[in-house]
Amino acid sequence: GMSSTAMKKKVLLMGKSGSGKTSMRSIIFANYIARDTRRLGATIDVEHSHVRFLGNLVLNLWDCGGQDTFMENYFTSQRDNIFRNVEVLIYVFDVESRELEKDMHYYQSCLEAILQNSPDAKVFCLVHKMDLVQEDQRDLIFKEREEDLRRLSRPLACTCFRTSIWDETLYKAWSSIVYQLIPNVQQLETNLRNFAQIIEADEVLLFERATFLVISHYQCKEQRDAHRFEKISNIIKQFKLSCSKLAASFQSMEVRNSNFAAFIDVFTSNTYVMVIMSDPSIPSAATLINIRNARKHFEKLERLDGPKHSLTMRMR
């Protein structure tokens, strides 16, 4: 078959050393951070990262512009290699950084490399650690940075988010990023709505498989808790961590009480679905059969899309 390295598209997570990339990756992808690996200072993430999401996108993490001259030299010599085949560039800025000029300089050199090697890549900028800024100044500071970044990024278009691991902004930013990477997301949403209405569900969520970020959802009535997506994501990721300790992998879950029943199950090759039924008289078996039938339909939906989308390039 085809060589796997040539086909793999990358998601680059870059930023200055200490800007919070390792924490971010750990939280989004539920990776355990071992203390010893961070004692060396810079994170050196290799091409053989085991984190895959959205099909066969590989997450690569690079420190950009630290004091380590070794890192800089390595970076410049491996430049083309690093920036080839990039689907997404996510650049992280520390809002508290005192070296704004330098940060922008490194960001621009990354953009140049992207323009040369992967001009179709999508660029996202995260202004991170916003919890360290006073609440009343956050919007102002973010707007300033966003303007600067948009200006610097021309001709590429960059989307900016302000994030912090201590509020919902990180989750929402990554959800938006993933949402923009799904090629046929509007179609998925329409089909999801139909599916939900047919099975008389209260709410149906579609998660990305690796990160449990909510790609799309349908609800038939107003829900009270605005943060429920992030909470469910956290709970399932904790459960996945526990399962991995037993060398088991998580496949599906049913939670039921007198008021509701919730079903979490594998859906397509890249997604999980969560169905919430508030009518307890409907037996589980019925819902599970419905989910199984819908699965076939949605898989066909994915396969129907054009060959250039990475979601369809699966390793056989």
Partner: protein, 592 residues
């Protein structure tokens, strides 16, 4: 957070895991709220986990979100008064509170327990006034008092440090000044004070320069273990033991001394015996004696020739019998499991020191000053200003200014941590002034024309006869105080040694009893054969000071600077010089 009823969780794994049984799950948010102040003796404490829930009104909409209502309070965790539970059992939880709790829960799974990387910073957690304890039965109670640890104002911390440092070495300072010479003694006292203060600051700052690890409950031996591994851990323990056991031996000798003198005073008072012809000293109302006039030999005890006191003298002897009588009193106290009872009596130490200062002032006023400056030659009554025996003073001072093994714990309860350096310096200044005052006054007031300055004893109270009332009171106070501190020291030795060797504070009565026999035995032997507290203090002081004052703090500082790439030549030279000084201090004890 809602209390969900019985949930059935049916797991369908990939086949390798067996299905779990149905379980009852009540969701409670758990926040780690730091650890309480550990006892100075405990080697490791686990953090206190407070199960609590953040209670707040539902109207929060602070974060722009199309599902939430617009904001009506500026702080998302403000609680309306009617929601605070007294009789009303209803509780309300805001979305922010429950999602923060969910995040903290999740993030804690991603790193090791001691790793601070994903711990919630202070500005994310609401202040203690807004935290409530949530009972799963549905009531929420406000957390009353207790903000994670006792916080003392600076003045209390300074006093605690002064109180801890003021030990029995105060009794040896005049002798030390005499050994070094008056001028050189004063210079050395000030210099040693500054040096040990600098090393103490290094010790205090050492846990903070360790990256990535939560060092909030570390003491200096833990820092040594981090930098030097097992060797560091064991050697800092051994040297700490040297100082503690040295102190306990000194205590035994002094207690024998004070008990002897107290008994003698009472006997002489009851039987109207006068000791003035048997002891060589001044005449007059303020009598100062020279117990060993012509020899430097401190062994033995001159017995009087009077026959009626011979029996008393045989059964009440400073070196032959009293050390053994003390065993009956003190050995049982050492075997207590907990020393908290004795910790109540620390105020006695303060009273004793204050009384000693008053005593010294009174004696100086009554005796007047007798100072003559002979720079390098010694005369019949005076000692030179600069003497070669000065290492004996530095040895005594190392123990006098020693607090390095517990300074981190003492300063932890300082309310304004940013003032730590200032407060420690003030404490050292006060300690130095106290020692200087006592040492200079006794030395200057020592009546030199009839007596030689060389007569100043390592325990300056020995220079006063047992019939002196003021000094009798001082001896009794000190005796009582030492009886209460001795078990505390024994407890510290036991806890540190037993934790390191056996892992528990109290492995069994047999272990503890053996250790106590060893300590008491050492004390008794020293009291019988070599009751010179000046020597004991200087040897143990210089030895433990070598590791814990000079070598380890300097090495740790240099290594941490090197790791951060900040080690400069002046710093390296200065700290290496400190290490050399520490070694020279020990060498000087043996050769001078």
């Amino acid at each position: 957070m809602h209390i969900c009823g019985l949930l059935e969780v049916i797991l369908q794994g990939s086949g390798s895991a067996s299905p779990a049984p149905p379980c009852t799950k009540v969701e409670v948010a758990v926040l780690l709220l730091g650890s309480g102040p550990p006892a100075p003796t405990a080697s490791s404490t686990s953090p206190d986990v407070l199960a609590c829930l953040l209670v707040a009104p539902p109207c929060s909409g602070h974060y722009a979100d199309r599902h939430s209502k617009p904001s009506c309070h500026s702080s998302p965790f403000h609680v309306e008064h009617r929601n605070i539970v007294e009789n009303d059992p209803s509780e309300r939880v805001s979305a922010e509170a429950s999602v923060l709790s969910s995040r903290v829960h999740y993030y804690s799974r991603l790193t090791a327990a001691s790793d601070r990387l994903l711990s919630p910073p202070d500005h994310v957690i609401p202040c203690p006034e807004e935290l409530y304890v949530y009972s799963p039965l549905g009531m929420a109670f406000k957390v009353t008092g207790g903000d994670g640890g006792a916080k003392n104002p600076s003045i209390v911390t300074i006093f605690a440090i002064w109180n801890t440092m003021m030990g029995t070495s105060i009794l040896s300072i005049p002798w030390g000044i005499k050994q070094a010479g008056f001028t050189l003694g004063i210079i050395l006292l000030i210099s040693m004070g500054l040096l040990t203060l600098y090393c103490c600051l290094r010790v205090l700052k050492s846990p903070k320069s360790i990256p990535y690890i939560d060092t909030s409950d570390w003491e200096f031996p833990d820092v040594c273990k981090y930098y030097f591994g097992k060797f560091g851990q064991w050697s800092s323990l051994v040297f700490s033991m040297v100082s503690l056991i040295g102190a306990m031996v000194v205590y035994w000798v002094l207690m024998s001394n004070f008990l002897f003198n107290t008994g003698k005073f009472i006997y002489n008072y009851a039987h109207n015996v006068s000791m003035s012809d048997t002891e060589f000293g001044t005449n007059g109302s303020e009598r100062v004696i020279c117990p060993f006039p012509d020899t430097g030999d401190h062994k033995g005890n001159c017995s009087s020739g009077i026959s009626d006191t011979a029996v008393f003298d045989r059964w009440w002897s400073k070196t032959n019998t009293i050390p053994f009588y003390l065993i009956i009193l003190l050995l049982p106290l050492l075997n207590f499991r907990s020393a908290s009872f004795f910790a109540r009596f620390t105020f006695l130490g303060t009273i004793s020191v204050v009384y000693l200062i008053i005593l010294v002032t009174l004696k100086a006023i009554r005796l007047g000053f007798h100072l003559e400056f002979h720079w390098l030659e010694s005369t019949q009554f005076y000692v030179p200003e600069f003497r070669l025996l000065f290492p004996q003073l530095t040895g005594v001072l190392t123990l006098a200014f020693f607090i390095h093994n517990c300074i981190i714990t003492l300063m932890k309860s300082n309310k304004h941590q940013e003032n730590n350096v200032r407060d420690l310096s003030v404490a050292y200044l006060l300690v130095g002034l106290t020692y200087l005052y006592v040492g200079v006054l006794i030395f200057a007031a020592f009546p030199s024309p009839p007596l030689s300055k060389d007569c100043i004893e390592p325990n300056f109270l020995d220079n006063f006869p047992s019939s002196d009332v003021l000094v009798f009171v001082a001896r009794t106070c000190l005796l009582f105080q030492m009886t209460t501190v001795y078990p505390l020291l024994g407890y510290l030795v036991r806890v540190q040694m037993m934790s390191q060797v056996f892992g528990k504070h109290y492995p069994s009565f047999f272990h503890v009893f053996t250790l106590n026999i060893f300590i008491v035995g050492t004390g008794v032997c020293m009291a019988k054969y070599y009751p010179n507290i000046g020597s004991i203090i200087r040897y143990s002081g210089a030895t433990c000071g070598l590791a814990l004052v000079f070598v380890f703090p300097s090495l740790v500082h240099m290594i941490s600077q090197k790791r951060r790439g900040e080690l400069s030549w002046p710093s390296a030279i200065f700290h290496s010089l400190l290490i050399v000084l520490g070694v020279a201090n020990v060498a000087g004890q043996f050769f001078m």
